[in-house]
Amino acid sequence: MTIDRRKFLKYGAGAGALGLAGFAAPGLALGQIMPKGGPRVIVVGGGWGGATAAKYIRMQAPAIEVILIEPEPVFRSCPISNWVIGGLKTMDDITMSYDALARRHGVKVIQDSVIAIEPDAKRVRTFGGDIEYDRLVVSPGISFIYDDIADLEFNTDVFPAAWKAGAETQQLRDELQAMEDGGTVVLSIPLGPFRCPPGPYERTSLIADYLRRNKPHSKIIVLDANQKIISKGKMFKAAWDAFYTGIIDYRPDNKVIAVDPATRTVMTDFDEIRADVANVIPPQRANNLLGVSGLRPAGKRWAPVNPVTYESTVHADIHITGDSTDATTVGKVPKSGFIANSMGKVAAGAVVALMYGREPPRPSMANTCYSLVSAEEAISVTAVYDLDDATGKMAAIEGAKGLSPGRSRLTAQNAEDWAKAIWSDMLG
């Protein structure tokens, strides 16, 4: 294949249904593959929600065939990817195989991209051909919105987001290492909601820590479109005051409106800042695949779902998990990997129950987000969620939600062990 699949998807999906109709022709020519011989679930996207759903469906119901379609050959973890940028881990440490899903759980893992979902025909179209399903789980993650930042879309090589773990993660690390002492790093944060609310602030901390130890005359300017740090704010601020005075220049209510790749300049309403390393995290919405199929309604950023089953409220028999879901329909849960893992399990339980004609279980979800504030110490926030019968949505259980008492080395150890556990829970 000569066309880069990611670009193909990006521009094809971005162009909307008209563009796709033409591009879908190769799939049409190939026709149906993997003819259905029994009950089948297709899972689109092998991230935190999708891989978990695939494994948990197979664990509960070996009679259901599960096909996982994922464009990447390996799993790369967004959580812990800031540790790579800070130089504490390598890409190898956060890269994992899908082999165990196939070997231990009988998930059929296909490396391909979904170019269309056809709810009425109950099939997905991939580059390799069309595949039919009884139920579909879609967990495709986010797409970026480039509309509000002039000149960013085709210059992400100069202004990497590194908000999907992969080549940009390593690029940002390499650029930090190559930067001379005295340089300026610019990191920009979009208005919420976005994937991983504490993520930009953890990244700021780890970049600042790297600069403090290795390039002490350098600084990091943080342009935050939000009014304040939107997650664990007091603890991040306390760590920044303790460790990074003169290194972190935090500017709330500073929205990036344009970039200039020729001079690596980032523009806000107030300033033009020339950067040596520029990490621009764009605003986000549900993956464009969901927009094309109507699962994200026109004019909406996220995909509405039923919070008991994660079934789309737009199309029947299609469940959506992870960052793409609309929190106004789920309840107040963050767009975190842990929550996507929880959603994957709730969706798996619902899919199995519905296929067996049983009542879906009542959802139970949890979240613990750990963030490093330096190479040694971390902070965290924990919550357990139950269905609020009054609203019909998920809500944190009273008394079962709160912050770590402060920053500590133990919390940093717990963060690493949490990652090992949840990676094994998804992929092992």
Binding site: A61, A63, V308, Y356, D425
Partner: protein
């Protein structure tokens, strides 16, 4: 009944796709609630990390007591103090029974057991409650194959008072940091 639950009921009007062998009862209360534990403790409680304990195959009476202690604050640990308060006694018991019925998977973090007289010391200090092979008894949990860092932290917590409510663990007051580390490494490697 909530709107959300009406939605799936409407979906049930269609016939079940599968009428063959039953799937695992996902509605089992212990399984339903224990799934969120796996985010830190691993699938079926097989925790791979060094500071997070293994729950799968642990004694149910111990797991229930531990959760009660986290709920009351007799055990001080910032994550579990919140999580334990999410579940009432009946739910906690269901979770404990679920994990107790799972196979024990030894920690992958263990190194070679320490030499010297640690085995003798373990026999004197620990075996009375935790069993001769660290397999646990009605007086204490399984500790054989549990991660060393977790057991070290637990013993240090008993020593500092961050864990209380168990008189038998006052024995850690007779131990220094080296004794505690050696015993933790010994039991982590015990199979």
């Amino acid at each position: 009944m909530t709107n959300a639950r009406r939605h799936w009921l409407a979906g049930l009007l269609g016939a079940a796709l599968i009428c063959g062998p039953a799937a695992m009862a996902a509605s089992d209360e212990g399984y339903r609630l224990s799934q969120t534990c796996a985010g830190c403790h691993g699938t079926d409680g097989a925790a791979p990390g060094n500071t997070i304990p293994i729950l799968g195959g642990q004694r149910a009476d111990y797991l229930t007591a531990a959760m009660a202690a986290y709920r009351s604050g007799e055990r001080d640990f910032y994550v579990m103090n919140f999580i334990a308060r999410a579940f009432d006694e009946g739910q906690t018991a269901a979770i404990a029974d679920w994990f107790a019925a799972k196979p024990w998977v030894d920690t992958p973090t263990a190194s070679a057991p320490p030499a010297g007289d640690t085995a003798r010391r373990a026999g004197e200090a620990c075996a009375g409650c935790h069993g001769g092979g660290g397999e646990g008894s009605d007086k204490g949990p399984r500790i054989a194959g549990q991660p060393a860092a977790y057991m070290t932290l637990a013993m240090m917590a008993y020593k500092s008072g961050a864990r209380s409510g168990t008189d038998a663990m006052e024995i850690v007051n007779t131990m220094d940091d080296g004794d505690i580390a050696a015993l933790a490494a010994y039991y982590a490697a015990l199979r």
